[in-house]
Subunit: 328 residues, 2 copies
DNA sequence: GCCCGCTGTGTCACCGGTGACATGAAATGT
DNA sequence: ACATTTCATGTCACCGGTGACACAGCGGGC
């Protein structure tokens, strides 16, 4: 691929002059300009971002680190980040953090070595103090979950209010024994949702029964096992609150086999309205998270000393469908 | 962030020596090595990939350009690419090409300016000759759809056989009037599936009726419109073949309202087995496409002059569920 | 005629890790 | 004891676009 010096040689000028022509610097004579433009065209010059990136020490790239890029929630989030980045001539590097919190630091740091302009991260580990050294260099924005161990911007959704809303909704449909099915309380979002669930019970003066809280529902098999644990209770639940979309989806086939319990889940998912019964959910807006996060990175790049709101919590809303109507 | 020269100054050696220690070059005395290692630790040195990338002219990055990264199919594909790349210390830049084929060249070229090690692309345009200049520099691998206008590796799925299989399946369930609902025949995959559909009809000695082929079913609304066009026919279809998962999903609510037609779709999707009726589909393997594509890029990087099979077509299989049983 | 400013263009250095090569000292071989 | 190899370490240049600065030539104002 032709470099600027190649073009310069062909046009009989210095590389700097080519640079000027390429960047529409007015201080170039018309004759020179035309000669250079011809050479540019003839050599099919395409500038490499490498040198500018190297010189500036900052790649025109925004990183996105999420638990799983194939998850529709994070897919939508990433897509939104990319849309914002593209408008500003930036690219997006993506990485899946997976399930193992201990691997998070290594994965994220190998991303950061690329001198990203910013990083949007939905962490899986309980502590991000390993990012301490990077806070000054890279604009870090947390989404879905707040940072812990460091101070960084965050855009999250109202886990507490959403879970409270969904649980209250089940209570209003006459349920008293409401199970909480989740993945792991190591994840802050799940913790927040559990707290919201408890708050709704408290509001309704329903005693909190720890045996109704079952974790580890990661896929259909483990969801079945978790559900079985609830069924074995002396007083099994008549309704279930699923702490995220993955749990809800894993639960659908399980509930199908075991009579109809009421179900409400945190997080909408494709086809939720087409299932029988259609699933009542708390609707999140991953695209909004992504857009805001990307925007914040660009804002901070453009205005390094401006001050911003540290934590933004987006409201969520209940999408009422049929699954909360049925009773065991 | 500390550079090698910073470390060198602190340890009282040259930058090169630091480089040697960092890369475990045995030609360093134990004393020096320890002094350097201390300095490395004290300054918390993390190498920047920027300089090496610049010098080598090749970023340790694989690009992934797909129509929509939020689509579960491409999400799974991207995830697989990333998994392979991560093992080799590489990152993945992703970009959505969107819907407008005319924007593809600009989007892809802005990716390529980053001197990627390779690019995995599922194109939306009908012609990739704009990539001509890049073939020599960047390892291009096409997935899901072949390249047109240039010679490049491809990994695709057997659109023809899959569509033929699904259509034959519907025929075997007694259907003669089978509608074909698709997005656009500008997309090569859709074209291939249409051909497969026609082949199955031919096999069964069923006349091909062009009015049974309706395109433009991109979302629920347009799918409804497309379906309405079929319903208006004098002899409406009793079964429908949907040319991709997005069409199938858009069609689910539409069919719900209009009596039960048999349905088979190309491409599985989450919850397809939980719908009522569960949807018979042709199962694709996006992760396999992603893995193979990434692997090919790494292979070509490692063995530049080795020869490879240009085009690989992966088999697909029918997942029989309930939707093909019901009859209008 | 001199200074000033403006214009068009060129030169140089820089960003940071590392390959190619050099250098001086110690170790080994004869 | 001297030649030769090995070893530890250093110096330099490079990758490519561009900011800082230089400089020659020219026109205008005094």
């Amino acid at each position: 691929m032709a470099t600027m010096r190649d073009v310069a040689r062909r046009a009989g000028v210095s590389a700097k002059t080519v640079s000027r022509v390429f960047n529409h610097d007015p201080h170039v004579s018309v004759v020179t300009k035309e000669r250079v433009e011809t050479a540019l065209r003839e050599l099919n010059y395409v500038p490499s971002t490498l040198s500018t990136t190297f010189r500036s020490g900052r790649a025109p790239v925004i990183g996105v680190a999420v638990p799983d890029i194939a998850d529709p929630f994070f897919g939508a989030l990433a897509k939104a980040v990319e849309a914002v980045a593209a408008v500003h001539g930036m690219s997006v590097v993506m990485t899946s953090l997976g399930e193992d919190p201990t691997r998070e630091p290594a994965i994220v740091q190998s991303l950061l070595r690329q001198s990203l302009s910013g990083l949007v991260i939905a962490p899986i580990a309980g502590d991000q103090s390993y990012l301490d050294a990077w806070v000054a260099r890279t604009r870090l924005v947390f989404v879905d979950r707040r940072a812990s161990g460091i101070v960084a911007d965050s855009f999250t959704e109202d886990d507490h209010a959403g879970a409270q809303l969904a649980t209250r909704h089940l209570v209003e449909h006459g349920h008293v024994r409401i199970g909480f099915l989740g993945d792991s309380t190591a994840i802050p979002t799940s913790r927040g949702r559990l707290v919201g669930y408890r708050a709704a019970l408290l509001d309704a003066a329903i005693d909190y029964d720890e045996s109704l809280v079952v974790l580890g529902a990661l896929d259909r098999r483990s969801a079945a096992a978790a559900f079985a644990a609830l069924e074995r209770l002396e007083e099994p639940p008549t309704a279930i609150f699923a702490s995220n979309a993955r749990v809800t989806m894993s639960l659908v086939p399980v509930l199908r086999g075991h009579g109809h319990l009421a179900l409400a889940g945190f997080g909408d998912f494709p086809m939720a309205d087409m299932l029988d019964p259609s699933v009542t959910v708390i609707d999140q807006d991953p695209a909004a998270l992504g857009t805001l996060a990307a925007q914040r990175i660009l804002d901070r790049l453009a205005h390094p000393r401006r001050r911003y709101r540290r934590h933004t919590v987006l409201p969520v809303e209940l999408v009422e469908r049929a699954s909360c109507l049925s009773t065991g």
